[in-house]
Amino acid sequence: MRLRIALALLPLALGLAAMIFLQQVLNPIPLLLIKIDFGLLALLTGLVLSAILLAVVLTRRANKRQREYGIARERIKHAEAQRRFLRRLDHELKNPLTGIRAALANLEGAGGTGSTPSAIPDIQHQVERLTRLTAGLRKLADLEEIPLEYTKVNLGELLEETVEAVRAHPSGNGRDLRLVVPSVPWPLPEITADRDLLSLAFFNLIENAMKYSGKQDTVEVRASEQARHVQVEIADTGPGIPPDEIPRLFEELYRGTNARGCEGSGLGLALVRRVVDRHEGTVTVRSRRDGGRGTVFAVTLPVTVQILKSIPTRLSKST
């Protein structure tokens, strides 16, 4: 850095030397007379050049510092996210394990007399919960690297199937769930996507909307076309999400205040985000807690995906 500043000042020094040489050696000095001669010109040129070079050097240094600061901040953010994730994981594991230990203690105390009839089903229930958690974590890890299997996907058909699947699910029982897919004047374009993964993402979003709204609330799924993109909105008239929770919503194992008391892995939205990311799409959320209250998740996907390189032929075999 010092060297660069010295180099930047070099034209000034050269200009000064040139002036002294031109004025001292070639001409006698006229006193109190300002005149533009070659000497002065050299000095001015040197001055301007030095100023420019100095400016360049200093802004570069400032940019570099800012970049380094940015990277450091990212690292800290990443480390914080990791700590948050571990804390949440710890919490998610603690509850079912405590339940299992309590049930086991009861079983042991009863000595097989059958006075704690709920102990075994309770243990089974908690074990299933842990199983779901590990399955979810594995999916998240898998999603980082599995090659997507791109095909032409008829989004309308896919949404219809997914909505049907949610209706058949306990959470969909007797609920007002609507699907709006445009057909006039033209239907939605087919998109290039991994059909199974998209269906997983939409299922999670629709099921969430059902789960976190009341029996009398409405859930609407609507698709639309927007200049080389398709957008799917999943809207509900539920209680809405507190604004301060929205930035955290897609984090792994994050459970908002609405989610307390609802059983879930806390991984559903994180999975949605990964799936959408891998399709080069976006997912956003807007929510209102009063007036026309409710929540809208909007997924935007490109009609064609650029990364054709990720079309797999076969998973690589390393053995």
Binding site: T134, R138, D142, D196, F203, L315, S316
Partner: protein
């Protein structure tokens, strides 16, 4: 003469798993011997000649896949069920290609393991060439070349997505067996997700279109209403 009790070798390095699983399998009527690493497993296979080996993948000394490779390269075709741990799709595909007869993702329901044990033992009795270690599987004009990852019907190569091909492979290596959608999801996708059974149906429909198979009068893949699918055509394996 009393019916012989089938011998099972259970290999896992986690004592709590071998202890409880072996008790569970013994109650189901099998004679179970346990080993806690790959080396012990190979010795036990040579000494006791079990009818079936249940093999964990991640183990010290010698992992499950190395055991399986060693057995097969020595010409030993004892049926093997692999217990995979890393739920990566690549690992599952490799399990079948290296000659495992079936595989289950941990954590699994012991009853599911029992169902697989029964199915694998039943199949092992019937066929002269173990389908699991066959490179080429044929069934009435349908040829599946597992090494080339290609299927052909009456000499015409079929255009199939990788998933549909893996699905066909799993169905053809487990013929005449009722396979639930959940099991196909676990085996081919490696994921179980709520809308997943539809994903299976979609791929089966793709396969049927390619195989020109009618759902009402199927030659190959039969729908078992409310339960799953069955590959009904007779299957032959070639090494």
């Amino acid at each position: 003469m009393p019916p012989t009790i089938p011998k099972i070798l259970l290999v896992d390095d986690e004592p709590s798993i071998t202890e409880h699983l072996s008790a569970f399998l013994e109650r189901a009527g099998y004679a179970v011997q346990c080993a806690s690493n790959g080396k012990q497993a190979l010795e036990a296979v040579a000494k006791n000649q079990p009818e079936l080996v249940i093999l964990d993948v991640l183990m010290p000394e010698m992992d499950g896949r190395a055991v399986l490779r060693t057995l097969r390269s020595e010409g030993n075709h004892t049926p093997v069920i692999l217990l995979t741990q890393v739920g990566e799709a690549g690992e599952r595909a490799m399990a079948l290609e290296e000659g495992a007869d079936d595989y289950l993702n941990k954590p699994f329901d012991p009853r599911e393991l029992l169902a697989r044990v029964r199915a694998v033992l039943r199949r092992a009795q019937g066929s002269p060439v173990a389908l699991s270690s066959a490179w080429k599987i044929t069934s009435a004009g349908l040829v599946l070349d597992r090494r080339a990852r290609r299927a052909a019907l009456a000499g015409n190569v079929l255009t199939l997505t990788p998933k549909a091909l893996s699905l066909l492979e799993y169905m053809m290596t487990h013929p005449d067996e009722l396979i639930t959608r959940e099991r196909l999801l676990d085996a081919v996708w490696g994921w179980d997700y709520p809308a997943g059974t539809r994903a299976v149906d979609t791929r089966i429909a793709e396969l049927r279109r390619a195989l020109k198979d009618e759902a009402e009068e199927p030659q190959f893949i039969e729908t078992v209403t409310g339960e799953g699918y069955r590959f009904r055509a007779p299957v032959e394996g070639e090494r």
